[in-house]
Amino acid sequence: MATLTLLQAVNDGLKTAMRRDPSVYVFGEDVGPKGGVFLATEGLTKAFGKNRCFDTPLSEDGIVGAAIGMALNGLKPVCEIQFQDFIFPAFDQIVSEAAKFRYRSGGQYTCPMVIRTPYGGGIRGGLYHSQSGEAYFCHTPGLKVVIPSTPHDAKGLLLASIADPDPVLFLEPKALYRSVKGEVPEGDYSVPLSTLRTVREGERVTVFCYGAMVPQAVKAAEQAAAKGIECLIVDLRTLYPLDEEGVLEAAKRTGRVVVVHEAPRFCGYGAEISAMIAENIIEYMEAPVARVTGFDTPFPNTLEHHYMPDDRRILDAIEHVHGF
């Protein structure tokens, strides 16, 4: 076991995938010799050659469109969109094409591929280097949406995504790239998609979170514990398809739920969790579901610390549902 940052774990996952499967190809803007703007693909061109890890023209539509073609014709493309904020030219390719090929061709044509992209705030990136667009994609049948929050999961979920027979959008919390470290097994392993991770046990309040919000929720839970409120923290890690039964079980255990995400509140992922609980287990609930989210504004720059949910806002919500 090596101790790696989340970014190093992604890099290790890519290398592992490329070693185990010669049909894995990695490409995107600046991912070749430079190794990507965050260095997630550092060393891959040197290790595997410029055919298997390479730069593309600056066109997200072209990157994802070409990845789909490669996947249709037997490769396992793992393409990078430099920032999730720039993915929208490829929205048509992802939503209309990759996610629908299997369905619309009756299984004749499929798109086993991964789109990696850094998302989220916390780096003073302003409107266009900070967004959390997961809700747009979780509304797309045929697509899988994965967000790791630890180095172990980053590598294991990435390897599972690359091995998956369907297209996966792999969102990497850039705020955690270098700020979290953890033990990562060497070589090949995988963390199954559509499974939850219990981060912390507790019986009073359940906190659902993912990505860069997980460490914030843990900090809030430590403060809550000091006040006698033990929280069950669940890292969703695959947002779609979600382990819905696992979510409902975790909600039932405490009857008090907080959902945390960076993305705006309206029609955000938390709305789905909240509706799922209301529809299925309302009789177990002791308090309304509380959502701690970004504001319904574009993502600000200088004042981003007010926009992004943090331990103090999460703690407020925990205390609110606990005292309801």
Binding site: P57, L72, D92, R102, G106, Y109
Partner: protein, 372 residues
């Protein structure tokens, strides 16, 4: 029309004036019969739509030579990334009218299991005729990616992607052309310039001198060909295919033709196409032109057209009757093929839909038990 003169082989008279086409009588006959089969399929679908038996169709009258001429330059191991007005390419390579008719009816035998609108075909044999989607131009960079995969495996497969004049304004056209130029990918971009993108004429689509010239900006050859001249399309696409196969990179071919019907059965072209333009192109019918050539070559005589067209109509008519009698897809097909393995939430939704249909009495015998 623009200043660039399209390459032509068959003159309106039918003479080919010294051009060597290099095709056997058998190949020429297959091209001819396929064009008639396209027209028969087209005519039949229009009647089926107008009589309410199918919901929708895409007319192909006038563009048969583009489709068949281009397809004839491909091997069965090559791939086609088609638009929705390209089914003649599939027919040329042996896809059966019955398999296409199953799609027109969206029945249980349809390769897309009734999930798509009519004319959105998907075939993986006898040639890869990749599943068609409705958004314009999305398939263009996909063809380039598929070509990259073939390059990496050192295969000599060629990838033909086809689109209309309107498609050249799409994001996918520019990204696909650009990627193919940079990668020197074995792709033939076939722009069938049929004069209109639904109702929008060329001068509202682009300010450039036609479409082939756009190739220059992407570092590849651009060629204009007379799209109503099957042998010219075959020659130009054939040269592009061979260049791609030998590692010479991509080509953009602009085939100038005219769509003699509406954009679809939901469209009325008399609202936007001048009558004189239709009359001009009616005199330039691609099938009649090919017949004049075949007659001069001694391969065609009066009466062949009616006999062959009747044969095609009978085959297509029988296909339509068989497709109409085929059951609709089972209810479970709404929920399958979303993912390789059905997630739990789709099992729940499928079971609920099945239970409701059973309770309301509108389940079909073929629906079966939902697989839980």
């Amino acid at each position: 029309m623009t200043a660039t003169q399209p390459i032509s082989v068959i003159e309106e008279s039918g003479a080919i004036n010294g051009h060597a086409h290099g095709l056997s009588k058998q190949e020429l006959s297959h091209c001819y019969r396929t064009m008639l089969l396209v027209r028969a399929f087209d005519d039949t679908c229009l009647k089926l739509q107008r009589s309410g038996r199918i919901g929708f169709s895409i007319p192909n009258k006038g563009v048969e030579a583009c489709q068949v001429g281009a397809a004839s330059a491909l091997r069965k191991s090559d791939w086609i990334f088609p638009s929705y007005r390209d089914f003649g390419m599939a027919l040329y390579h042996g896809v059966k009218p019955l398999d296409m008719m199953h799609n027109m009816y969206g029945n249980a035998q349809d390769s897309a299991k009734g999930r798509q609108m009519p004319v959105h075909f998907s075939f993986d044999a006898p040639i890869h005729f990749v599943s068609i989607s409705s958004p314009i131009g999305t398939h263009i960079p996909q063809a380039v990616g598929a070509a990259y995969a073939a390059m990496m495996r050192k295969e000599d497969t060629v990838f033909l992607t086809s689109f209309g004049d309107g498609g050249t304004s799409s994001l996918g056209f520019h990204s696909g052309m650009n990627f193919a130029g940079v990668w020197k990918a074995p792709v033939v971009f076939l722009c069938q310039n049929n004069g209109y993108a639904i109702s929008c004429p060329t001068e509202e689509q682009t300010a450039s001198d036609g479409y082939a010239i756009k190739a220059k900006a992407y570092g590849m050859p651009g060629v204009v060909v007379d799209g109503n001249d099957l042998l010219a399309v075959r020659k130009v696409v054939g040269e592009a295919v061979e260049r791609a196969r030998k590692g010479g990179g991509p080509t953009l071919v602009e085939a100038r033709t005219f769509r003699m019907g509406g954009h679809s059965t939901s469209d009325d072209p008399t609202r936007y196409v001048p009558k004189e333009l239709v009359e001009y192109w009616a005199k330039r019918d691609p099938i009649e032109r090919f017949e004049r050539f075949l007659a001069q070559a001694g391969y065609w005589k009066k009466g062949d057209r009616d006999r062959l067209y009747d044969e095609c109509m009978q085959e297509v008519g029988a296909a339509a009757r068989a497709a109409e009698e085929t059951a609709r897809p089972a209810l479970e097909t709404v929920f399958t093929d979303v993912y390789a393995d059905m997630p739990a939430h789709l099992r729940r939704q499928g079971q609920a839909a099945f239970d409701l249909a059973a309770r309301k009495g509108d389940a079909s015998a073929g629906d079966g038990k939902f697989p839980l």
